[in-house]
């Protein structure tokens, strides 16, 4: 049996005006477990807290009920007071007789009666309280960033600048991501490479940053503060320490027919290649599917010409195991496949291209060396049609239901750049809405219309029909004029919807981070915790969380970094002791609880149990206290009642129910 002390606060007249405090003290004295009851003007005052300390000693109290204001106000105060008096802080319960009673009731009898019942419920609960102790876990002061695009680079730089070690794992041979494929950036039209490459160099040169390029995360275990990650470093077949990056191997490689990923398949690359000139690291990799040496055993030309002796055909994949305190997902995006959009003739004509392909066409290092030309015949186009929302805002299963957010702006950019460089080219943009919320965004779009004479037509394109003369007949609607437009174009550019990188599902599963129906990672709170995953220690940076442009991506990357820094700055993590716990003898191992856990805190272990003499190995739920946040979803999902929540146990809540209904 507990020895409970009840302390009833007057809160000046805030409580005492409508609750007969003395009466509450008097009635509550006869409750089971109560050995002491008193009232005081202000329990939260130092003198009030001192009274608790004295009573704990005098009456050898094991539990405390404070009848006062909301626990959201002073629960911590009274818990600390109890702790100072040598009691476990979780042996304190608050009966909220101010906000939930005195302040809303006018009749003193009514208020007193209710206050007694609330106090009784708190006493009933404390009778079942047990001391709880926050857990501690260590923090490995190193972060992992998955993805080496602008989001990943920025996050890593910010973490590293704060003085913490950070590793970037990038799947492709170079960091840089999609931003490295862009020609210019809106709304200021700086050259993408000019602003990105210095950041890439900074990342590579930073003493706190380690790059794992051409590498993938293979396995993740552990939890916040203490993750263990296996990274597969894929064999490059080039010794990075020896390679000088002279590029001779690529020049001499006889296999030059592989579509270049970097140029979106619009140009070819050699079998030994760096994706682009400013690649970091500037160390090529051998694509074994294209390499003649790997396919036939003959060739070896690259090895012969490499003066540094860096080519090593015997290299093997390597698994590196590292420990991290925090993991940032920055896996980015890609454009959707257009196979289901036959009406736009993307697969039928080389002159129908995506906007990202246009970036490569416009880029001096691209397949056309920056000349705007038709990919079918190399002729200069005179009429270009842009089609917006291709696959975005689609509720059918061909596209994506969301707005891809960046297309309106990059299309304005493309249209403007084309009109600027080739004033004789007519540009028509078919749009549904032009969405330009952002600093200087609408001004930018208006410039495209007003200064550069880009023809914006409100309406969608129904189909694009390749003509025998090589032109493209575009049939669209002009909703404002209520006309159907037939336009002969030389090129059609599709503002293709973006979607999260294909690998994100696999990565999210490894991290037990939740993902939405569109494969975007879910944030811990849509408004208040937008850069954290519900899974503790996992952070989100860039488009993996939702469509965004470069400035937004960079800000979010910085926000994710500061959250990581905030975590790594701690030496130890104190865990909330009000977590779920499975009773080994009752657990069925059925996985129902794990299915509702938003934090991936529940795993299963085969454990040896002794159930009243029956010794057997059982599959049993184990809650990771560092991950559990104490919501209690699992406790209700559990049919056998094995799962219970400390601090809000089934019996505690039932005791409150019983006390109230008595």
């Amino acid at each position: 049996m507990q020895r409970i002390g009840v302390f009833v606060c007057h809160c000046g007249s805030n409580i005492a005006a409508t609750v007969d405090v003395k009466k509450v003290v008097e009635v509550i004295r006869s409750e089971p477990g109560v050995v002491h009851a008193e009232d005081y003007q202000y329990m939260c005052s130092e003198a009030g807290q001192e009274r608790i300390a004295i009573a704990v000693k005098e009456h050898k109290l094991t539990g405390i009920v404070v009848c006062s204001c909301s626990p959201r106000m002073h629960e911590t105060t009274f818990r600390k007071a109890a702790e100072r008096a040598g009691l476990n802080p979780y042996m304190v319960e608050i009966a909220n007789i101010r906000e939930h009673c005195s302040w809303i009731h006018k009749d003193i009898n009514e208020g007193t009666e209710k206050a007694v019942i609330l106090a009784r419920a708190a006493v009933a609960k404390v009778n079942l309280n047990t001391p709880l102790y926050p857990g501690e876990s260590r923090v490995t002061k190193r972060a992992l960033v998955i993805g080496g695009g602008i989001a990943g680079i920025q996050t890593a730089l910010d973490i590293a600048d704060a003085g913490y070690e950070v590793d970037i794992v990038e799947k492709t041979p170079s960091i840089g991501g999609i931003m490295s494929q862009l020609d210019k950036t809106f709304p200021t039209l700086d050259c993408s490479a000019c602003i990105l490459t210095p950041k890439m160099v900074d990342a590579a040169a930073h003493e706190k940053i380690k790059l794992y390029t051409y590498s993938e995360v293979e396995k993740v275990s552990g939890f916040v503060g203490d993750f263990t990650v296996d990274i597969r470093k894929k064999a490059r077949y080039v010794d990075a320490d020896k390679c000088t990056g002279c590029g001779l191997c690529q020049e001499k490689c006889p296999s030059k027919k592989t579509p270049s990923e970097f140029n979106r398949g619009l140009g070819n690359r050699s079998a030994i290649y760096t994706p682009f000139a400013q690649a970091i690291p500037n160390v090529p990799v051998i694509d074994t599917d294209a390499c003649i040496k790997f396919k036939t055993g003959k060739c070896g030309l690259c090895q012969k010409v490499c003066a540094a002796g860096a080519i090593d055909y015997t290299q093997k994949d390597e698994i590196v195991t590292e420990k991290y305190g925090a993991i940032v997902v920055a896996t980015g995006f890609d454009t959707i496949k257009l196979d289901n959009y036959d009406e736009y003739a993307y697969n039928q004509s080389k002159d129908v291209i995506t906007s990202l392909e246009l970036e490569r066409v416009m880029n001096a290092a691209g397949p056309t060396h920056g000349h705007l030309e038709r990919l079918s015949d190399g002729k200069a186009p005179k009429e270009i049609v842009f089609i917006q929302c291709v696959g975005s805002r689609c509720s059918d299963d061909r596209g994506k239901p969301y707005c891809s957010k960046i297309c309106c702006m990059y299309t304005a950019k493309h249209a403007m750049l084309i009109r600027d460089k080739y004033p004789d080219v007519n540009v028509t943009v078919f749009y549904i809405d032009v969405r330009t919320p952002g600093k200087n965004f609408d001004e930018f779009y208006r410039r495209a219309v007003e200064q550069y004479g880009v023809n914006y037509v409100k309406g969608q394109v129904g189909k694009v029909i390749p003509q025998p003369n090589g032109k493209l007949l575009v049939q669209g609607s002009d909703l404002l004029d209520n006309k159907q437009i037939l336009k002969e174009a030389d090129m059609v550019v599709l503002a293709t919807a973006i979607e999260p990188n294909k690998d994100v599902r696999k990565i999210a599963t490894m991290l037990t981070a939740s993902i939405d129906t569109n494969n975007f990672l879910t944030e811990a709170h849509a408004k208040l915790r937008p850069v954290e995953s519900p899974t503790a220690g996992i952070f989100l940076s860039g488009v993996c969380q939702g469509p965004k442009d470069i400035p937004e991506t960079v800000s979010q990357a910085g926000a994710a970094a500061i959250k990581v820094v905030g975590l790594l700055a701690k030496d130890k993590l104190m865990t909330n002791p009000c977590t779920a716990h499975a009773d080994e003898l009752l657990c069925n191992g059925c996985s129902t609880c794990a299915n509702v856990c938003p934090y991936g805190a529940i795993s299963y272990e085969d454990k040896q149990v002794n159930d009243h003499g029956i010794r057997e190995t059982r599959r049993i739920a184990v809650v990771n206290n560092a991950l559990c946040q104490g919501c209690g979803a699992c406790t209700v999902a559990c049919p056998s009642g094995a799962m219970d929540l400390q601090g809000f146990s089934n019996r505690q809540i039932l005791a409150e129910v019983d006390a109230i209904c008595r």
């Binding site: 906000e99 302040w103 709170h525 979803a633 929540l645 809540i653 109230i660």
Partner: protein
């Protein structure tokens, strides 16, 4: 004596710590009155509310049980109230099916900013329960102390 004979329902309100309990606090600090018949039990999340708690309350003589949580989409734990919503929908449907009066148990989403909504909800719930009268069907032979 007629005043004393007035039906005073027993009402248990389960409120999630993050939204509805705070909403109730706001109702209190805004001095928005609602009947003293309502007694609040604090739970971390609406998904902590086990159907056993509700049935137990009825068994022990409660006349109405209301569960309040964060609005869907605003759960502190992201998804808790979505699970609670399904659970409670099924439970209430079952109560209806076995002949318990509709409306004796209710779910309302009340945010921390909705003190007014909290008080309004409690007022309307209490008046509904008063209309329904004493809970006889779920208590049956009532446990009386």
């Amino acid at each position: 004596m007629s005043v004393n004979n007035e039906f005073k329902p027993k009402i248990v309100a389960f409120c999630c710590n993050w939204c509805s309990y705070a909403g109730a606090d706001l109702a209190g600090s805004s001095r928005l009155a609602y009947p003293a018949d309502v007694k609040i039990i604090r739970v971390p999340c609406s998904c902590r509310v086990n159907p056993m708690f509700i049935l137990r309350a009825f068994e022990k003589g409660a006349d109405g049980v209301i569960i309040c949580g964060c609005h869907p989409g605003d759960c502190h734990y992201s998804t808790g109230n979505y699970y609670a919503r399904r659970r409670m929908t099924l439970l209430f449907s079952m109560l209806d099916y076995i002949g318990v009066e509709k409306g004796r148990a209710r779910v309302e989403w009340v945010s921390a900013a909705e003190g007014v909504k909290f008080a309004d909800t409690m007022n309307s719930f209490v008046s509904k329960i008063k209309d329904l009268g004493e809970n006889v069907r779920l208590g049956d032979i009532r446990c009386k102390n």
